[in-house]
């Protein structure tokens, strides 16, 4: 965007913010190619077009809030940058969700079963956090397979499990 175009955009945007509808088409004609280029450099092709359109609509929605003291082009690009960030975040979230579903599918479980399993694991982890350190150590040793021989350790494990059961009944009732 050269200086003359930038000044013209500034003038048209100021008029539009004041409610002058004759400035609508000049602002649209100047901003639409800028938005397309800006989004096109930052996002892949089909998504870039959508985001550029979304950004342009946001700009017109907020045109009444534009302050003439601001630089119109920078303001518009700021709105577009926010839309691009939002689109990227959405894409990342979709990718993460997809990865979780793939993982669940690979493990042979349905998403519901996976969620229940996760809940159960979280509840057990919370419960173990409330035990005395000695009980937690004994259970961790059993879980990792590093079980020392002898009746003393066996008794410690039994006591720890009894406390886990008691704590589970107190918290979850069964």
């Amino acid at each position: 965007v050269d200086e003359a175009e930038r000044a013209e955009l500034q003038r048209a945007m100021t008029l539009l913010a004041d409610g002058d509808r004759t400035a609508f088409h000049p602002v649209f004609d100047r901003l639409w190619p800028v938005m397309r280029r800006f989004a096109g450099r930052r996002l892949a092709s089909p998504e870039a077009e959508d985001v550029a359109q979304q950004a342009l609509l946001k700009i017109f929605e907020r045109a009444g809030e534009f302050e003439p003291a601001l630089d119109a082009l920078s303001w518009a690009l700021g709105v577009a940058a926010y839309e691009i960030r939002t689109a990227r975040r959405k894409t990342e979230r979709r990718r993460e969700d997809g990865a979780v579903l793939d993982h669940v599918a690979a493990a042979g479980a349905t998403p519901e079963e996976h969620a229940l399993d996760e809940d159960l694991r979280a509840a057990v982890a919370e419960l173990i956090g409330t035990l005395r350190p000695a009980d937690a150590e004994a259970l961790a040793a059993v879980a990792s397979g590093a079980r020392p021989p002898g009746a003393t350790f066996r008794k410690r494990v039994e006591r720890a499990l009894a406390r886990v059961r008691a704590a589970w009944r107190t918290k979850h009732g069964s």
């Binding site: 409610g19 359109q53 342009l56 609509l57 017109f60 929605e61 045109a63 009444g64």
Partner: protein
Amino acid sequence: MARDESGLRSEARRRYERARLAAALRASWYVAPLAIVSLAGCGRTAFTLVVALLLLALVTFLGWRGQAHQRAIAPGVLGGSVPLLLPVALHLTGHPCLGGSCFLATTACLLGGFAGALVVGFQWSRLREPPHFLPLSLLVAGLVGALGCVLAGLTGVLGMAAGLAVAAGPVYWVARRV
């Protein structure tokens, strides 16, 4: 969601107009306290509600329309607050309007309307706005003033309108020459 360019242009225009209307409606919040002052001071519920709704519709339209229309609102409200507050202040300081003895309140409305038009005219001249600014601003001032002058009944409202109209002529003439 991708639209063709003409679809995008129409949607952009729709969003622009909708956002302006919402902003204008939000900016009209002050009509509520003005109506409350009128209800508390004058007790003419039906008249107050009708005038307050008309005022809300007018300032929302002017705010949505923008430019000089929008800038006519503030001087109108300022000018109208003189005939709004004068009779209410008189009433609250022990000059009740009972039966036919509304002469003082009616006079206050007439003078308030006159002063309100001077305020609007001064602002019009100071802001160097186009001619249509003046009647729009006077209309806003008239509706705001009517909320207070209803205390003196229809005579009060007509007195205020007469005050506005009488002052508007000279104000227009003087302001065009300043």
